[in-house]
Amino acid sequence: MAEVTLIEGIRQAMDEELARDERVFIVGEDVGPRGGVFRATEGLYEKYGGSRVVDSPLAELSIVGMGIGAALYGLRPICEIQFADFIHPAFNQIVNEAAKMCYRSNGAWTVPMVIRAPYGGGIGGGLYHSQSVEAFFTHVPGLKVVVPSNPRDAKGLLKSAVRDPNPVIYFEPKKGYRLIKGELPEEDDLLVPIGQASISRQGKDLSVFAYGMMHYYTLQAAEIVAEEGIDVEVVDLRTLLPIDEQTILKSVEKTGKALIVYEGNLTGGYGAEISAILAEKAFVSLDAPIRRLAGPDVPAAPFSHPLQDWFMLDVSKIAAGIRSMAEY
């Protein structure tokens, strides 16, 4: 067991999949000799060459669009969007093309493709290097949407995504790239299945649902409130689409309370879907109103430090949310 960072888990996943399967290639801006602006593809260009680690033109829609074409022909592209904030030009390709290909061709054509995109705030990135855009994509049947919160899942989920026969959007909590560390088992082929949430902390008083960076903060908040006698169950959603309803419902049936934490804007955000599922299917188990703790409804995280702090959820805000829920 070696302790590694989250981004190292991502890098290892790509390295292993490139080595395993000649159909796999990486395409994106600065992924080549630069190794990616966050260094996620560091060393891969040198190891696999420019034909498999491909620097794209500065144009996101065709990173995805050419990836779709390559996937239709039989390759397995890993497309990197440099920041999730810049994925929007590719929205048409993702939503109208990749996501609908299997259905619209009655299964004759499929798009086995991964789109990696660093997301989230707290890094001084301002409005356009901080967004959490997952809710746009979790509304789209045909996509799978994955957000890892630790190095092990980052590696295992990405390897599963590369092998998945569908388009998988893989959002990476960039603030956690080097902040989040964890043990990585030295398995030959570490795979974490897509579509399964995990209980990352057992508890009985209330359930907190989170993913990515907010999951990391939630675990810390849970330790703080534990000292005050509040026993929190933390559910790491990991895969946002398709939704692991069973794990979500089971947790609330046990605790009777649900708090959903996500850093995207509150309204129409991913937490609304979890809330709706609980209201429809776990109503009789609920001892308190479902609550969402999310980013405020302003366009995105502002740049200036105190303004960014106002926008971002953190450990103390999450702990406060848990306390208020526990008191109900």
């Binding site: 290639f25 779709i68 022909y73 093309e97 259905y103 619209r104 004759a108 054509w109 045909g142």
Partner: protein, 335 residues
Amino acid sequence: MEVREKIQTELTHELMLEMYWIMLLSRRIDERAWLLHRQGKFPFHISGIGHEAAQVGAAFALKRGKDWLVPYYRDLAMVLAFGLTPAEFALGLMGKKGEPSSGARQMPSHWGLRRANIISTSSPVGTQTPHAAGIGFAIKYRGDDAIVLTSIGEGSTSQGEWYEGVNWAAIHQLPVIFLVENNEYAISVPRSKQMAVSNVAEKANGLGLPGITVNGLDVIEVYDAVKSAADRARAGGGPTLIEATVLRMTPHSSDDDDRMYRSREEIEEMKQKDPVNAFRDYLIQQNIITEAAQEKFQSRAKEEVNAAIKFAEDTPYPDVEDASYPVYAEDIRHG
């Protein structure tokens, strides 16, 4: 149509007759689709009438069964040349069970045919161009001896997706042919309001690939241009942009009324340049087909169209449960 010396060696009489047959068949089933639509048999038709020479010339210049096609909605003649049957097209018109492009999930003329290397296509225009670049990339990646042709209307070359796709192919010298079927109209909007350049081929200059304009009413001229671009692409010489000037002899679709934006005189003039008639006259003039044999082609086309329509009419609608799948590859049902 001009008489050319060069083509006589490459294009056998047999092949030219086959080209004429596909053009005629496409025209006849397209005309029938308009008629049936007007009778209320189905809600939508989008036509390729006036584009047949460009489409058939292009398709025959490729290695059918080996090369790849990323077409757009007007390409009825092109996909017939690649192996879609009239009966399959008719299933699409009526949204019937077994329609091969989408299982009748998509509107008619949204092509896709796995067995013929025809990629599934959608409605938002220009999205297919980056796909063709990606297929070209994959062909080169694998070192395969194939090429890909993607087609589009001139209006859709205004899309950023078109530029980005062509740019990729030019940078990486990918084996892609970008065929633009320029009929001068994007629904109602004339070419002059789509682009400041006087023809689409000029756009190639800014993207770094060869761009040529050919008479898309002359099936042999298109064949020659696409054949030479295909030979070059196959030899590693990179992509080509080919603009084929064609006529849209019908409204944009069955939901359009082109009397709002163009004169009837313009339509009448088009009929004098009809590419299917022009090729028929050429074949007769060159003694490649006799009048009598030509008449047989006409009656055979009518029979095939009748049979295709009858087949589709006799085919049931899909099972309602088909609407629920396959959203993911895991849901695909074979057979």
